[in-house]
């Protein structure tokens, strides 16, 4: 069999993998923070340690996986090749990973210079990536929901990072701006216009392709991301204008749109043609269930006083959406992307003389299953920590460290397969030349 990708156009494997290998380190740091801060971390979403924990997941774990995955998905799904991919990856990875570390340290110390560094590094890293992606997509017609969805999601990422940088600078330099209002908008853009949109845009391809489900209904796929982004825009405008009722209505429409995506995806997953559901199928299914619950919780809390006044519902919403929803989906995607990347690059290197290993041997299913169980144990313990922090926060911290150490081990195993087979290919080529 012949090569599948020419090397001059395929991004080097180290470009996306550096992001994937860094992501679990942020989640392990989140586990350490849980152990260090203890039960008080769940007292309020505004506690410094709680903000640090949230950003270890969002600006750390999730951003790293999503940026790494986009490096690979833009050429494969959209046909957009990032110019100088290794150089872009180096700058973006260094800038965003140090930026997320600075942001965590800034929340824990409230040192103004750390907020400044975090804003500069995260904004620079993300803007470099956005510029590279925009250049790669120049001239590509958005003729399917994934391309349009990715373009709009990247716009959402830009607004999320710029509002985040503004908030960080305002906190560091004591600027007099409406911090609470801006924080809620930053959250809306980050969770919906960026994270949910990019997940949906990728899901329109990845769910039918990897989970062997029917295609998303075409009208739904075409309308979802533009509608979601439109709702976020209207929510932002009405909130800034001080129209409280309209703001609540558009925020509710945004959340309802996200819930609809989760329900449609659950319906498709139920109709999968897979003979046996693997771990990636379960990651997707539990993520969509968590997303649905999170959206339902948010909507009920807005309109039912009893729940709305319970101080812990925002924390429960955050754990359901971020760890149960986004983190589970990204794990499901990682376990498809990484074995495929290793196989693809080995296939290219082998040039038909040395066959690449079967993808199932790049990362054995049993190892993925074990890590999946550890992830869901950590998730369940974190959910329980919201209600019984004194009892559950320490086991949750330990479980989070363990599940992400396991993820790192699995990724390192795949890299080991890549290196060993790469060496075998080199040896075969040398023997053929001799």
């Amino acid at each position: 069999m012949q090569n599948l990708l020419s090397f001059d156009q395929a991004p080097p494997i180290s470009a996306p993998l550096r992001f994937f290998l860094t992501a679990p380190l942020f989640a392990m740091l989140a586990g350490v923070l849980l152990l260090y801060s203890g039960p008080e971390l769940f007292a309020s979403r505004w506690m410094p340690a709680t903000l640090a924990l949230t950003h270890l997941f969002t600006a750390g774990f999730l951003l790293q996986v999503m940026l790494g995955a986009l490096q690979q998905l833009l050429p494969v799904v959209v046909g957009a090749n990032i110019a100088q991919p290794l150089r872009v990856a180096t700058w973006v990875h260094a800038s965003t990973s140090f930026g997320a570390l600075c942001l965590t340290a800034a929340f824990l110390t409230y040192a103004p210079w750390l907020f400044g560094c975090a804003a500069a590094l995260l904004a620079t890293g993300v803007l470099v990536f956005l510029a590279a992606a925009a250049r790669a997509m120049r001239g590509i017609v958005a003729n399917n929901p994934t391309i349009l969805g990715l373009q709009l999601a990247l716009l959402g990422l830009g607004v999320t990072v710029l509002t985040g940088a503004l908030l960080a600078l305002a906190l560091g330099l004591q600027w007099d701006i409406p911090l609470l209002q801006l924080t809620d908008l930053h959250l809306g853009w980050g969770l919906m216009a960026w994270s949910c949109s990019v997940l949906a845009a990728v899901g329109f391809v990845a769910v039918p392709m990897f989970q062997l489900t029917p295609e998303y209904p075409p009208r739904f796929a075409r309308a979802f991301v533009p509608t979601a982004l439109g709702c976020v825009l209207l929510w932002t405008a009405s909130d800034l204008a001080g129209w409280a009722a309209a703001s609540t209505l558009f925020a509710a429409a945004t959340v309802a749109a996200a819930g609809t995506y989760c329900l449609v995806t659950l319906h498709l997953l139920r109709n999968s043609k897979r003979a046996k559901n693997d771990a990636t199928h379960r990651f997707w299914r539990y993520a969509m269930l968590s997303g649905t619950l999170a959206c339902a919780l948010w909507l009920v809390a807005q309109f039912v006083d009893g729940l709305g006044q319970w101080p812990h519902w925002p924390m429960l919403f955050g754990v359901l959406l971020v760890l149960g929803g986004f983190a589970s989906v990204t794990l499901g995607m990682l376990y498809k992307i990484v074995p495929f990347l290793v196989w693809l690059h080995l296939q290219n290197q082998g040039s038909g003389r040395v066959l690449a290993p079967n993808m199932k041997k790049v990362l054995p299913q049993v190892q993925i299953d074990r890590q999946m169980r550890a992830h869901f144990v950590a998730y369940a313990l974190l959910l329980l920590s919201v209600i019984w922090p004194a009892w559950c926060v320490y086991p949750a911290g330990l479980a989070l460290i363990a599940s992400n150490a396991w993820l790192l081990r699995n990724l390192a195993y795949a890299m080991g397969v890549y290196r060993r087979h790469g060496a075998a290919i080199q040896a075969a080529a040398s023997a053929a030349d001799a």
């Binding site: 012949q2 990708l5 799904v77 392709m209 990897f210 043609k273 693809l344």
Partner: protein, 78 residues
Amino acid sequence: MIPQVVAQVVDGHGLEPPEPFVLTMDALDACPSGQAVLLLLPREPHPLYRALQAQGFAYQTERTAQGSYQIRIWHKSA
């Protein structure tokens, strides 16, 4: 000239990547000169296009009314 005779049809519907790519490349290895391989897929295979260009194959893509893709592939020297 586009070969009209199809040596092999590869139906990629319901197959998980990279199976359609592997089957297509294997079919091209066995494809006689002057004939084509027809690949059926639910979406455009961008990585495959690049591999085909790099290895001297020509292709023609048609989008069907149902939204799926038919890619006819043949060797340029044919």
